[in-house]
Amino acid sequence: MNGILAKKLGMTQVFTDEGERVPVTVLAAGPCVVIRHKTLDNDGYEAVQVGFGDKKEFRANKAELGNFKKSGVGAKQHLLEFAAEDLAQWPVGKEFGAADILSDDELVDVSGVSKGRGFSGTIRRHNFAMGPQSHGTHNIRKPGSIGANSYPARVFPGKKGPGQYGNKKTTVKNLQVVKVDGERNLVFLKGAVPGPKNGIIVVRKS
């Protein structure tokens, strides 16, 4: 399989043997459970449906419950499909952790829902420059001109402006796996990962 579901624990730093400090994000990756197979005959493609994090049975609706009952594992909070070359390697009900998917020094792509910043202005959202702060100016955080006047007599689509910022699926590519702790299902990734602490993260091999 090419990926795993994880929970972001937060950031810290680790030392290499050379004494270098490396900023890392710690993820609790797994334990995940194989819920179901998607097969060529039935679904037109091959994939493994994976569940992560328990939830109470009464929280699941009947469609979900049927799915979980079939696999023989309890209700899970998060479900996702991953492509797999060999379905027989991942039988339904198999539990797996970080060490089964990831190894040290590997490069991974990481997706998560970024921290929501609400309706933000252009300065925070698009790194626009601020106006002068003094001498009676009223142009402190304004976006400035948004285009010419009579021609084209409209604002071009895609013009950067204020609006919802964050709370959106974001992917960071090619993060290095610094360390995998198979016993406790921890993954240490070099650098930052989108989303808040306790956010759900998808780690895929690059």
Binding site: K7, L9, M11, T12, Q13, V14, F15, G19, A28, L186
Partner: protein, 114 residues
């Protein structure tokens, strides 16, 4: 999933000697030369302690020959063998940057007794 960042950090943090600004310390650093590893002492006055937890650092100043040298050590680095306090100094500031302007007899620090 009872692991959190604080408990993880405690695994890598080490016991620290209670150094303070103004103390004269010897920092024993592990140095790799070729394929041999040896310990190199660095003796000087602590100018400042900075940061908390894993990222905290220690700035040590010494006069080497006629040149002042300041080195910043990450206190939890595995490259640091040990830190020894040679002399406890009595200073009023937590960061004694004024030491940079002082030389010779003026740069003495009196003993801290309590």
């Amino acid at each position: 999933m009872s692991v959190n960042i604080e408990t993880l950090n405690q695994e890598t943090t080490r016991e620290l000697v209670p150094v303070r600004a103004g103390d004269t310390v010897t920092v024993n650093i592990k140095v790799v030369e070729g394929n041999k590893e040896r310990i190199q002492p660095f003796k000087g006055v602590v100018i400042q302690k900075k940061g908390t937890g894993l990222g905290s650092t220690l700035t040590v100043r010494k006069i080497s020959g006629n040149v002042a040298v300041e080195r910043i050590f990450p206190m939890h680095s595995p490259r640091i063998e040990s830190i020894e306090i040679d002399h406890k100094g009595k200073v009023r500031q937590a960061r004694i940057y004024y030491m940079r302007k002082l030389r010779g007899r003026a740069a003495r620090i009196s003993e801290r007794t309590r």
